[in-house]
Symmetry: C2
Subunit: 370 residues, 2 copies
């Protein structure tokens, strides 16, 4: 299967090395990790392990930070279904950035995008947005420094800026960036200019340029490549960005976890039994066909989805992770045992998440007060 990565489609096994070249990203190197450590006091395991693997202009961002010019964070959520592990992974890292760099966070809800691109009603999207907000609050972002920006509700702020971006982007440009054709609706065509706005809206509101860092899964990169081309023409900074891959779906390393195929995804609201059943039944395994063969030849953690979840988001302890890796590879650990570890880690994280999610119902207003 040809690999294909746009904000609306991730097909096939993704070659991240190739993506770095194609998208013109920079790999995160040791020197940058040291700089981050110097400023943040630590390096998040997702950085150490190369889960967040690429960036743009992080060195410029840290130059500014070291000069005393704080940056703000911008990330987002397209509300069209339940939240899954793939979302949480990026947001856990985003929360770490907020905590360590004491950042304002602008959280965009692209309810317009999801309405325009999906065969769903306006009402359905609004309902999902409410549900998604609960998950985002549950992640633990600082309510005093986090601003929910809703594309429809806050269009009064966004649209006047979006048209300034739109004036610089032709149909040919979105055609080549997103693979659009003449059958795309005119809202879809316009949308990328809306996604550009949070990268400079705080600067407009504060009437001074503030550096911006966008942590995001790499499929959103086509938007931000365009954004980076346009913003200097409008007198704004280019946003820096830091990219992670997609968390693989349960079924293996092709495509990305997606809530529209909920059997292939662990959802934030899945209960203990469901999590266990999904991992046991679906999680693609790097183990051998029989226990005997597994004991003899060992498993392959590199393609094992349960292991990838541990590595990418659930097990922050490097030594423990290395031990699991060795034991699974040598055959000492069976697939069922590996899955059990993942299930426990997942259920531990989700139990806490679900408790926070309930409390979040009373907190939404604090986050929408722009």
């Amino acid at each position: 299967m040809k690999n294909q990565v746009t904000p609306w489609e991730v097909k096939g096994e993704v070659d991240y090395g190739k993506l770095i070249k194609e998208f013109g990203l920079e790999k995160i190197d040791k020197k940058l990790l040291e700089r981050i450590k110097k400023n943040a006091g630590e390096v998040h395991f997702m950085l150490r392990r190369g889960v967040f693997f690429a960036h743009r202009d992080m060195n410029w961002l840290l130059d500014e930070y070291e000069k005393g010019n704080k940056f703000f964070l911008y990330t987002g959520c397209g509300p069209s279904g339940p939240i899954h592990l793939g979302h949480l992974q990026t947001w856990y890292f985003t929360k770490w950035l907020q905590d360590k760099f004491d950042c304002e966070l602008w959280f965009q809800f692209t309810d317009d995008e999801k309405f325009l691109f999906k065969d769903k009603s306006y009402k359905e999207i609004q309902d999902w947005m409410y549900e998604n907000m609960l998950d985002i609050i549950a992640v633990g972002f600082n309510p005093k420094k986090t601003h929910f920006l809703i594309d429809t509700k806050h269009a009064g702020l966004i649209y006047p800026e979006a048209i300034k971006v739109a004036k610089k982007i032709t149909f040919s440009m979105v055609k080549s960036s997103f693979g659009f054709n003449e059958s795309n609706n005119i809202g879809e065509i316009f949308f990328t200019s809306v996604q550009a706005v949070p990268a400079f809206l705080p600067s407009v509101l504060e009437k001074k340029e503030i550096p911006c860092l966008i942590p995001h899964a790499v499929d959103q990169d086509p938007h931000f490549r365009l954004t980076r081309d346009i913003l200097p023409k409008l007198g704004h900074y280019r946003p820096a960005s830091i990219q992670c891959p997609f968390l693989p779906p349960l079924t293996g390393n092709e495509g990305k976890m997606s809530s529209s195929e909920s059997a292939k995804a662990i959802l934030s609201t899945d209960n203990e039994k469901t999590v266990a059943a999904k991992i046991n039944k679906y999680a693609f395994s790097g183990g051998k066909d029989t226990i005997e063969e597994h004991r003899k030849k060992g498993g392959n953690p590199d393609i094992d989805v349960s292991f990838q979840y541990l590595r990418m988001m659930l097990e922050d302890n490097d030594e423990k992770l290395a031990e699991i890796y060795r034991d699974y590879k040598s055959g000492k650990m069976l697939t069922s045992e590996l899955k059990q570890i993942t299930i426990e880690k997942l259920n531990f994280a989700l139990k806490r998440h679900q408790q926070e999610r309930e409390k979040a119902r009373k907190q939404i207003d604090k986050f929408i007060s722009i």
Copy 2:
């Protein structure tokens, strides 16, 4: 010159008979005029003389009106330059509709459109918008029943509805409606969905369907044809509409009066001397080359621009107009005399307009309070 009519370009001499066919409009007939008279108590001279010459669904609108379902009016202004006679003509008629049918009027300012389509800065467009508002207020619309809807300022109301329209319109559709190509910017491409919104926004706000009538110059028709196709799919009424031609520029019956060529236009702020100079110097005449020849063979009022201004908007008395027509045609009236009548009428109207325009500076807030 091939005739061409889109919202952004009117070239050549326009064949309105052909336009009725091409655009699928209905001609305003005697029966409809009688129905309007029955309800309004009179028939405006622009209707009697066929200046407003075509319509869509006026009979349905009057059916509803006669059942007690009042309609609202929707018209607009693209703020990118000074107001000229062509604008005032449509608005005089719109005011008459508002007065006679006791209507709410939603007045859209497409500041986004003008920013997106013109080589002008955001600031320039905002400044022109303020100036244009003064002219619109000066026309005398009822401040209690007139709502200025500004595309950027009121995007919070407009954008959530515009995306519902946009989802039903593809690039192919705007390509064929407006002659767009791949070099158009993505804001231009999206814009028609914004222009559709005022036709149903009052229904959304009131949570019940209210019939809408759009009085407009015929170049805006491609927008409203699309609007009429889409609205029933969103559960809204199709707006009715009533069309006038373009007021000809001073230089003759080709194209339309436009403020971007201000030497060819009479502006709302022109003083008495300027008006006299423009009419005397530029107004295309139907007279003969010499006074002798004119006296003998007579002039042609049908191509005389001064006469057209009298007929289309300045002389409401049919008998007086007929007398001027006869006298000019017979040669009894010279071009200089005809021009003098037009100059006096214009200066009388503009003097009053300019006085009201000054008073309007203090009234703007009343009109923007949505």
